[in-house]
Subunit: 197 residues, 2 copies
């Protein structure tokens, strides 16, 4: 257990939904949840979304796992997610910050081959130089080879799911300029779409 990092870490949260475009959507979502180890995050579900909260690496690990398992059967599935850090008053789930950093779903996540297309947008809040941060993060995605093009109100990523998720995690972490930064990142990730681009 890496308790030493506990005091300097900040809790990350994600509100997300999975949309399998299938009559079997309930089974697909429940199956993806069963195949995901949620033991290192706080979680809660209502009829619109699920929330997970904890250390950044576990939040990204869990969301990636639930999406990969939802799409692994080949049906068209979409993830919509809002990641947040530094929201004023955001403390519920702090107990999960004392876990270690070993990702519980990483091995299985790596084993699922999947091509995805994604849009993402970053919102650094409370700061006048937010556009500079956004341009910097677009540069990061270009370096990582997942950037496809800019679109209105979003940037488009494409490629293997694991690489796209890695870019999103790096972008979210890099966008935090100080340990008080409030940053929100939204993303829509689509797999097995019958549409052409």
């Amino acid at each position: 257990m890496n308790h030493l990092s506990c005091g300097t870490s900040r809790i990350v949260g994600c509100r997300f939904s999975i949309y399998p475009m299938s009559d079997r959507f309930v089974d697909i979502i429940l199956g993806a949840l069963r195949n995901t180890d949620l033991s290192k995050v706080w979680s809660h579900t209502d009829d619109v979304s699920t929330w997970v909260r904890g250390r950044s690496e576990h939040v990204f690990d869990v969301v990636q796992s639930i999406f990969l398992h939802s799409a692994a059967g080949g049906e068209h599935a979409v993830l919509n997610a809002t990641f947040s850090i530094g929201c004023p008053g955001d403390t519920q789930g702090d107990a999960f910050m004392s876990t270690d950093d070993m990702r519980m779903n990483a091995e299985r996540n790596q084993a699922i081959p999947l091509q995805v297309a994604a849009h993402f947008a970053l919102y650094p809040l409370g700061t006048p130089d937010y556009m500079d941060t956004i341009y910097e993060i677009i540069g990061l995605a270009k370096e990582e080879g997942t950037f496809d093009e800019s679109a209105h109100y979003a940037s488009r990523l494409e490629g293997e799911a694991q690489r796209v998720f890695a870019t999103l995690e790096h972008a979210f972490n890099r966008a935090q300029k100080t340990d008080k930064s409030h940053v929100v990142m939204t993303t829509t990730i689509s797999a097995n779409s019958p549409s052409t681009k």
Copy 2:
């Protein structure tokens, strides 16, 4: 034609996707598009999302129509949408700002009965007092009777679809403090869900 308002209006855009949780998702989406009058907005679609841009009232009118028609058949359908105004460099589609303000889909929108649950979040960008604006808008939703509760990273609305969409439009418009404000609002609206809250 109300050309006089053209110079002071600002273009509003929305990036959105509709997710019908059904094997018939393609037919449902295409049917909803056929039943929606898009003549007063600029629009573009890729394999992840659709963009509509133009005057605020037409953007909200069109997005509401596409969602209502997607859910009208009783199948579980979700709208995910990001509304934006004031994004630096955002001008494409400006020609549509010279339309009049008569909503092309309002009458049919009013005729579709539908109960929905929604999450929404507001991101006023580039300003240190963004949290004050967010609290003000939550107050507005409470006044309008659609507010249900606060949730992590979002507020929850519930009720008739028409009233929920009205609150979202009012919230987005009210959050603009100056004619240079850059404001983003995200929302997830769910209808006919088999889940309980």
